[in-house]
């Protein structure tokens, strides 16, 4: 493989590495972690053993005759932080994936319909989307999450609603400009129907922009998820969740047990950064002319 040449290529490479590492670790990371993510009880050979709370990182202790290493230490309730981070990663990634899927599909569909149909339908949908877009995403998610309740699907829905307008606006704008392109005219003259033109001529041309927006939404969704769970709107405890752990552990963190706060925070940063760089790199390579904020 050749060395990356431009800034965009570097972003893409670094982003892919970080993203792949996060996903891989969330799937197979349990091999190195003791595994008591939700309680201080570790089951060793059928007997229940209590893990001491607030163990510093890298401490190895003897439990029921075996040596266990807590790589990132244990929290205020004696739960292994690494195990919690890994289990939390699966949840966060699932929420981000689901909400990105929902918001992109809904946004693309509405954008295509609105842009191609025009008229009254377009005006009403655009109005609703613009007002949703002007509201703070986190606030919309808070209001919805408070109504819908906790859990994977509810949380994903609450986050997804806030990001539908981004896709809608992008796709609608592109449909409007693509509609006037010669190749669409040509397809029309050749006798292609509206549906065929929308799906065959217009939709594929919106893919590059969509592709570079997807990782950004994904990163945004992770941050919003962390914010929601920090505010207590995530999942029911004791299921691991990064934002919730940060809120619950903050007194201990401020009292000097740094590993309780530092590691969940780093997990969020690294995961988000990975997807962000991926998006940035893709954007630079797929849409070279307009590099917008």
């Amino acid at each position: 493989m050749r060395k990356p040449r431009t800034f965009g290529e570097w972003c893409l490479l670094l982003g892919s590495i970080l993203t792949a590492a996060t996903v891989l670790l969330s799937l197979i990371g349990d091999i190195v972690a003791p595994g008591n993510a939700t309680s201080s009880i570790l089951i060793i050979d059928g007997s229940r053993v209590e893990v001491p709370p607030l163990l510093p990182p890298l401490s190895s202790i003897q439990l029921a005759g075996k040596t266990y290493t807590f790589h990132l230490g244990t929290d205020q309730l004696g739960r292994d932080i690494l195990s919690r981070l890994l289990a939390g990663a699966r949840f966060v990634l699932a929420v981000a994936f689901l909400s990105t899927a929902i918001s992109s599909l809904a946004g693309i569909l509405l954008g295509l319909l609105s842009g191609y149909a025009g008229g009254m339908f377009d005006r009403v949908v655009s109005l609703v989307m613009d007002s949703l877009y002007s509201l703070p995403g986190l606030i919309v998610a808070i209001a919805l999450a408070a109504l819908l309740g906790t859990g994977l699907v509810n949380m994903s829905l609450a986050i997804a609603v806030a990001y539908i307008p981004s896709y809608f606006r992008m796709v609608r704008g592109q449909v409007l400009s693509l509609k006037a392109m010669p190749f669409v005219e040509a397809a029309k003259i050749a006798g292609a129907g509206s549906l065929s033109i929308t799906l065959r001529q217009i939709l594929p041309n919106t893919f590059p922009s969509i592709a570079s927006l997807l990782p950004i939404t994904f990163a945004d969704a992770i941050i919003t998820e962390a914010g929601l769970s920090f505010l207590g709107l995530g999942i029911e405890p004791p299921t691991p969740d990064w934002g919730f752990d940060l809120n619950k552990g903050r007194q201990f963190f401020l009292a000097g047990y740094w590993w309780i706060g530092v590691f969940p925070g780093l997990a969020i940063i690294v995961t988000v950064l990975g997807f962000l760089l991926l998006g940035e790199g893709l954007n630079e390579i797929l849409n070279p002319k307009k590099w917008e904020a």
């Binding site: 007002s131 002007s134 940063i269």
Partner: protein, 340 residues
């Protein structure tokens, strides 16, 4: 269209925008699945209690009637309902908390703007060096740090060694004193100056430094990105080349031709960031116990009091509309082309 006509037509448009946003908030909160009562009191409450509570809140009426009630009580009576337990008017709670949020948002916008402009200037000056890459990496990293995590880190690693306060707007004694000041607008900054109390002002500034820094850094990522991009754009225009050709110093070119022409996109972006700012404020206020609307939202969530959450969302919608009005007028003032 002159500036005056533009401002008038924009003002006339504002009620319509507000109505649309409020309608939207109503749809979001009432029409979508989910029930404020079960959210409040759990899913296992008896049928008759559920029916009574629904009737109390007017949730048993047809949806269009609920909609008109919502708009009527909000716009005519300025009523946002009551809290579930203490029966305090939500509008009163929000009104007493609003100054704190406005103080925080203004001070953090100033910090973010300052960082953004410095980064933008430096990357325009050293356009062909490594600095622009630094600016982009900075904005990506800042973007990926959750606000509350940044706040916690500042509390642990800045506030503690330096001795800065980490919770609230004032220390407890001044909290009481602030209520006895001759001038009371709710804005501690204004009250303490007008009442001639530098001690309270100092205490206040110490308390607000970290929350503002947290929210300011959070916003500065987007600010520096946009400043950098728009300065870069204006640096590649012909008039900049011409200015260079006339032999002006590079810094003069950057300041007077690069930055000045980049101010319009920066201003637009500042307006657009209000939404992000208010969202970030909820988390910052929660982290620092800053008694603004955001902390109220958090308390509402903890107490499972939906009236508070709904009231706050409504107020945020109003704020967003008002700020976009101000930004549009400023924008028209700066750039005559907007007025057509």
């Amino acid at each position: 269209m002159g500036l005056k006509e533009y401002v008038i037509s924009r003002l006339l448009l504002t009620p319509a925008m507000l109505l649309i946003l409020l309608t939207f908030v109503f749809i979001l909160l009432r029409v979508l699945p989910g029930d404020p009562i079960t959210m409040l009191e759990g899913k296992n409450i008896p049928e008759d209690v559920l029916a009574r509570r629904r009737a109390e809140l007017g949730l048993d009426k047809p949806i269009y009637q609920q909609y008109f009630n919502y708009l009527y009580s909000l716009l005519v009576k300025l009523d946002l309902g009551q809290t579930a337990l203490e029966k305090i008017p939500v509008s009163y709670l929000i009104l007493t908390r609003l100054p704190a949020t406005i103080e925080l948002t203004i001070s953090s916008t100033i910090i973010a703007g300052a960082i953004g402009i410095i980064v933008g200037l430096l990357s325009a000056r050293y356009q062909y060096g490594k600095f622009p890459y630094f600016a982009r990496v900075y904005s990506s990293i800042v973007y990926s740090i959750p606000v509350f995590y940044l706040g916690l880190m500042l509390q642990a690693y800045v506030a503690k060694p330096v001795g800065l306060p980490t919770t609230g707007r004032l220390s407890p004694i001044n909290m009481v004193l602030a209520d006895t000041l001759p001038v009371r607008t709710g804005f501690v900054f204004i009250d303490s100056i007008l009442s001639g109390r530098p001690d309270i002002l100092l205490d206040y500034l110490l308390h607000m430094s970290l929350p503002s820094l947290t929210l300011g850094i959070y916003l500065s990522g987007v600010f520096s990105r946009v400043t950098y991009l728009s300065v870069e754009d204006s640096m590649s225009q012909d008039y900049t080349q011409a200015a260079r050709g006339r032999g002006l110093k590079e810094w003069t070119v950057v300041k007077n031709y690069g930055l000045r022409n980049a101010l319009i996109p920066i201003l637009t972006m500042a307006g657009l960031q209000v939404a992000a700012l208010l969202g970030g404020a909820v988390l910052t206020e929660t982290t620092f116990n800053w008694e603004g609307v955001g902390l109220l939202v958090y308390e509402g969530i903890l107490k499972r009091d939906y009236a508070i959450v709904q009231g706050a969302v409504t107020i945020y919608a109003v704020l967003v509309t008002l700020v976009s009005l101000v930004v549009d007028i400023l924008y028209a003032y700066v750039d005559p082309r907007v007025r057509y």
